[in-house]
Amino acid sequence: MDSNLLVQYGPALLRGFGVTILCWAAGCAIGMALGFVIMLLRQIEVKPLRWLLRAYIEVIRGTPFLIQLFLLYSGGPAIGLRLEATTAGILGLGIYGSAYFAEIFRAGFQAVPKGQVEAAHSLGMPYGGILRRVILPAMLVSTVPALVNMMAILTKETVVLSIITVPELMYEMQTMAAETFASFETILGMALFYWLLVEAVSRLGRRMEARVTRFLSHPSNARA
């Protein structure tokens, strides 16, 4: 990319980068919150509810994100849901992620050692407290790798938001490419950039994992 282009499009690309990060972070937050609630609801033994949640997860995981996003953004107004592009993008990303996060949380929930929960019950602890102080921390340990992996996948999915004109990085880049007949190198540069982003998220995730599993280290394998 020559320096003229950079001066001309730099600010737009930077803004685009900001929007990408915003959509990604907000989408992850919504996806995890929603996924966690879905996981909790799935513990309730009511047939229609279980069936509904199961269908939700199957449909979300079984259809392309692009189509879901289209439905939400273009089909939304038909049911009175008129969303601004960025809002729709964030919400879409959150919904898409929620199905995967729900499954990750479910596996984590099932992996919580039963005895740890029984011990809490036998001490008379209330369920909310057990969930917060015993189950959640145990889940965190077993789910962090999968959560980070899903978050890294979602960084890549943000490019899809450009289809519904969310002014994120990919969108700005396409604009630039269209206006300047940008070279193959530019596109390659963008690919490299997303790769770096995913790498950064993964690295952060590994740090997080080391942090939440700190207490598990046995003296024999502890770092000096």
Binding site: P113, G115, Q116, E118, A119, A120, H121, S122, L123, G124, M125, P126, Y127, G129, R133, V134, P137, A138, V141, F215, L216, S217, H218, P219
Partner: protein, 278 residues
């Protein structure tokens, strides 16, 4: 490991005359339980008086854990009744009986402590935090007071210096003692032990049994599922031998161990002697 002053010490003197107690700590009457077609408990009757130590022994699968877990309703019993200090466990005292709400169950469980074979400490909390947690959540103590009390309890089981260690840094025996501290911090009226030393290396069994002996000497009411026949013989006031879901022998340890005519019990004890006699 000396256990110092204890509020329960005064009741220890009553041990010589448990029959005089008006309300027994635990009364089990006609309790049965089945998992599908598999009948695990058959018409169990058992009374545990205050400050008494009752050991449950018996072969694997005879229903010892199930019976113990029914006492604090970690396991639901189908028929019969279990009472703790007169209060019906798990059900309303009406006919027909209804299952208690979770809040009511919690009220009952705060007076009953349980120690598990696998310790079941919370690995993301230090020893101190493990002991303090329920004090905050169940007893409503503030963090500082709970930590102080947790420290005292750890000292009582000889682990004052391990307060800030995570369970993964403790030996099995130390972990089990933290688990006991976690329970006694709640000042339970009754303690249930499910094979508390079975997961321990042999050289660590003694330290846990010593803590339990001290508790018994302080007048704690205890129901102990164990394979430690020495402990049962020396510490228990009475021993119950479970066999295929039935109490096949019950009485003072000397009677059960030496005078019972039950052939299954003789056989059970025989395998023990053989295993421990080389």
């Amino acid at each position: 490991m000396a256990i110092t002053e204890s509020p329960a010490a005064a009741t220890a003197t009553q041990r010589s005359a448990p029959a005089a107690e008006p309300t027994p700590m635990v009364t089990i009457r006609g309790v049965s339980k089945a998992y599908g077609p598999n009948v695990v408990l058959r018409d169990i009757d058992l009374t545990v008086n205050k400050s008494e130590v009752v050991c449950l022994i018996g072969p694997s699968g005879s229903g010892k854990s199930t019976l113990l877990r029914c006492i604090n309703f970690l396991e639901v019993y189908d028929r019969g009744e279990i009472r703790i200090e007169g209060q019906l466990v798990g059900y309303s005292d009406t006919t027909p009986r209804r299952r208690l709400s979770n809040a009511q169950l919690r009220g009952l469980r705060r007076n009953v402590g349980m120690v598990f074979q696998q310790f079941n400490l919370w690995p993301h909390m230090t020893a101190l935090e493990n002991v303090a947690e329920a004090l905050v959540q169940v007893r409503g103590m503030d963090k500082g007071a709970a930590a102080d009390r947790a420290r005292q309890m750890l000292a009582r089981v000889g682990l004052a210096d391990k307060a800030d260690s995570y369970p993964s840094r403790l030996s099995g025996g130390q972990q089990q003692r933290v688990a006991i501290a976690r329970v006694i911090a709640m000042e339970p009226h009754l303690m249930l032990f499910d094979e508390p030393t079975s997961a321990l290396d042999p050289e660590l069994v003694g330290e846990v049994l010593q803590v339990m002996r001290d508790l018994a000497a302080d007048g704690m009411t205890m129901v102990v599922v164990t394979h430690e026949m020495g402990f049962a013989a020396n510490v228990a006031d009475r021993v119950a031998f479970l066999d295929r879901g039935r109490i096949a022998a019950f009485g003072p340890p000397r009677e059960v161990f030496h005078e019972s005519p039950d052939p299954r019990l003789t056989q059970f004890l025989q395998t023990y002697h053989e295993r421990n006699s080389f």
